[in-house]
């Protein structure tokens, strides 16, 4: 189990965006089979600026602008992986990825099994997820839980600069398809990159803050909100442990259940809708595996069951916020 290291002299400030770019650049330098493909990744520098400068360094063959045809270029990425390359495919947002869902589910996730183990698909697909930027419903949803439903793929959600920096290398080392969900609200987030870390483990969740009264289980863009809530709660004498899932499939049951055994209470924070969500899955696993450890019902803080609205006050009200997390924790410890 990895824990958030305290800033030391070997850390340096960076942003989530820069950390992602460093990871990409390193992958491109280390393996000539790696190439980046997606809408606006080249001349534009990436819709969110992640690939800015890479075209100049690696050329248009390896920083490959694609037409607006998600199914076509995601499928081509899957085919290129079958053909021995190591493509990193960028889809602008999870909403657009639905146009490529056929390729991701029916091909990437399925070919290994359907072929009796003959065809592995080492493709990495990155995309933005989440709300909070007043982009309206078609650019703001959190559908990573849908992907986490699918056997045959690994689903990652980097929430820290260390994970943003190193998850790509680990994803490329995986012989199977890996989806990386980058929360749009995190790109500008600054963090302290730990220079003693040179690799991350994709199999374990991380305890980002230790605590004894309640486990706040979250991932991605909700992690800073959960940490803020924990800080508020500490002022009230409530000790919250904050767990960052990091990998949404497969889930690290062992770390989760160990947290429940320590804290006996759980609040799950998930920006997706509550119904049929990853939060529902985790709640159910806790009930199945750690029921007798619980001192209170598991609580969930999710988005309101509406398409995410544009107006700031409506959008804010639709999403999990530190205050709503604090309220849920208070309910569970009272």
């Amino acid at each position: 189990m990895s824990t958030l290291k305290a800033p030391t002299g070997t850390s340096r400030p960076t942003t989530y965006r820069e950390a992602l770019r460093e990871g990409l650049r390193e992958a491109l330098l280390q393996d000539e089979r790696v190439f980046l493909m997606g809408e606006d990744v080249g001349r534009y520098g990436g819709c969110f600026g992640v690939s800015l400068g890479l075209l100049e360094e690696f050329g248009p063959d390896r920083i490959r602008d694609t037409p607006l045809s998600e199914s076509g270029f995601v499928g081509a990425g899957i085919g290129a992986a079958l053909g021995g390359m190591r493509p990193v495919v960028e889809i602008m947002t999870v909403n657009f990825s639905l146009l490529a869902l056929d390729q991701i589910l029916n091909n990437a996730a399925t070919l290994l099994h359907m072929s009796g183990g003959q065809l592995s698909v080492p493709v990495v697909i990155r995309m933005t997820t989440g709300a909070g930027r007043q982009l309206g419903a078609q650019h703001s949803h959190s559908l990573e839980g849908w992907y986490a439903h699918i056997p045959g793929i690994r689903v990652l959600a980097p929430a820290t600069v260390d994970d943003a920096r190193h998850m790509l290398a680990a994803a490329l080392a995986d012989p199977d398809p890996v989806l990386i969900f980058e929360h749009g609200g995190l790109y500008n987030a600054e963090g302290s990159l730990d220079e003693t870390v040179d690799a991350v483990d994709l199999d374990t969740a991380a305890v980002r803050r230790s605590g004894t009264d309640v486990a706040v289980i979250t991932y991605g863009g909700s992690l800073p909100k959960a940490l803020a809530a924990a800080e508020t709660l500490a002022g009230e004498g409530i000790s919250a442990e904050v767990v960052d899932l990091r990998t949404l499939r497969p889930l690290d049951d062992a770390t989760l259940m160990a947290c429940i055994a320590r804290t006996h209470r759980a609040v799950i924070v998930d920006e997706a809708w509550r119904s049929g969500s990853l939060a529902a899955e985790i709640s159910s696993r806790i009930t199945e595996q750690a029921f007798y450890e619980l001192d209170a019902p598991v609580q969930r803080v999710c988005s309101a069951e509406v398409p995410i609205p544009y107006a700031r006050q409506l959008e804010e009200a639709a999403l999990p916020q530190p205050a709503t997390i604090v309220d849920a924790v208070r309910r569970t410890v009272s």
Binding site: F35, D61, T66, P67, S69, S71, G72, F73, V74, G75, A76, G77, I78, G79, A80, A81, L82, G83, G84, M85, R86, P87, D102, Q103, N106, N107, L111, L112, H113, M114, S115, G116, G117, Q118, L119, S120, P122, P151, G152, R154, L172, A173, D174, P175, D176
Partner: protein, 359 residues
């Protein structure tokens, strides 16, 4: 971008057939091999088409006897496309296929017993019992299925071609699909990508006039498929899909051009399935007379007649050939019947790569 010439008129079709007929040996080498003449080119094509025909006829019997299940889509009547196109491909090339792929798999060289065992869901099947009729795979022969989502294989094929293109390889990726796929966005996305990036891709549309039960005219605003493909800036040819020599000649011409770096090529093979869409299909949407008319253009009969007229084939040779093919299928069925079942304890294998696999 190189040539954007379109050859979507009937002229190319006639030329292809003519050059195809010239290409084969005028007379097969004489000699004996188990009562058969030494394998000449035409005889080898005939044998491969016959092997597909008899294999699928056996599938009908086995399906009726509940030995094999699932959706089973037969290509009886379309054998010339599978055999003619594969004749133009090299071992190092890649093939992406559809759910109607028994013929493509067999023509590619996937052993009949591995295909039959797959139909039986056995451990010795080419997909270890996890694919069935619609999902045949053979990585060693670069046969990438077996895709049951209409047009779903097209982007994959573009990706395989992209991998070759990026490494400067002269390999070709051949993608088979039907007229139904032409209505899917994935066909158009793939055609655009392939032409834009000049990928070494041969797109082979098996136009059998029906997308399941919907005729071409009822599914397409413009039924001239080669013309539409040519609009993407790739050479597009139409060929008589009931004439194996014409298909072979056109495919050779196309693959040579793809290999030479001229980007993707499109080949429409006008063909017909003599049987229903699948074993479940009552086939109510086609006139009996239409089916009979096309049966008059049976690709096996056509080649056999040509060979007879050239003194390469007689009834005795045909009987021997049939006997030999049927014996192989008997052997494949016996092998499948006797093969072990894939153990249920292995159900969860191959969802993710086994430990130790690295990318």
């Amino acid at each position: 971008m190189s040539s954007t010439t379109s050859h979507h008129e009937g002229k190319a079709r006639a030329t292809a057939r003519k050059s195809g007929r010239k290409k084969g040996p005028a007379t097969a080498a004489r000699g004996t091999r188990g009562g058969l003449p030494a394998p000449g080119h035409h005889l080898s094509l005939l044998r491969r088409m016959l092997a597909i025909r008899r294999f699928e006829e056996r599938c009908v019997e086995l399906y009726s006897g509940a030995k094999i299940r699932g959706f089973v889509h037969l290509c009886i009547g379309e054998e010339a496309v599978a055999v003619g196109v594969n004749q133009a491909l090299r071992e190092t090339d890649a093939v992406v296929s559809t759910y109607r792929e028994h013929g493509h798999a067999l023509a590619r060289g996937v052993p009949a017993d591995a295909v039959m065992a797959e139909m039986y869901g056995r451990a010795t099947g080419c997909s270890r019992g996890r694919g069935g009729s619609m999902h045949l795979f053979d990585a060693a022969r670069r046969f990438y299925g077996g895709n049951a989502i209409v047009a779903g294989g097209l982007p994959l094929a573009a990706g395989l071609a992209l991998a070759d293109r990026m490494r400067g390889s002269t390999r070709v990726t051949c993608c088979f699909f039907g007229d139904g796929a032409f209505a899917e966005g994935e066909f158009h996305e793939t055609a655009n990508l392939a032409a834009l990036w000049q990928l070494p891709l041969l797109l082979v549309c098996e136009n059998n006039l029906y997308a399941m039960g919907t005729s071409l005219a009822r599914e397409h605003a413009q039924t001239n498929l080669a013309m539409r493909a040519a609009s993407y800036g790739m050479p597009a040819w139409t060929v008589d899909g009931m004439d194996v020599l014409a298909v072979e000649a056109a495919a050779l011409r196309a693959t040579e051009s793809v290999r030479a770096g001229n980007g993707p090529h499109f080949l429409e093979a006008q063909t017909y399935r003599f049987r229903a869409h699948s074993m479940y299909d009552p086939d109510r949407y086609r006139a009996k007379s239409e089916i009979e008319e096309w049966k008059g253009r049976d690709p096996l009969k056509g080649l056999a007649e040509l060979m007879s007229s050239e003194g390469q084939l007689d009834d005795r040779v045909m009987e021997e050939l049939d006997k030999e093919v049927l014996a192989e299928i008997d052997e494949a069925v016996r092998g499948a019947e006797e093969a072990p079942l894939e153990p249920v304890s292995d159900l969860l294998r191959f969802v993710t790569s086994e430990p130790g696999s690295t990318a």
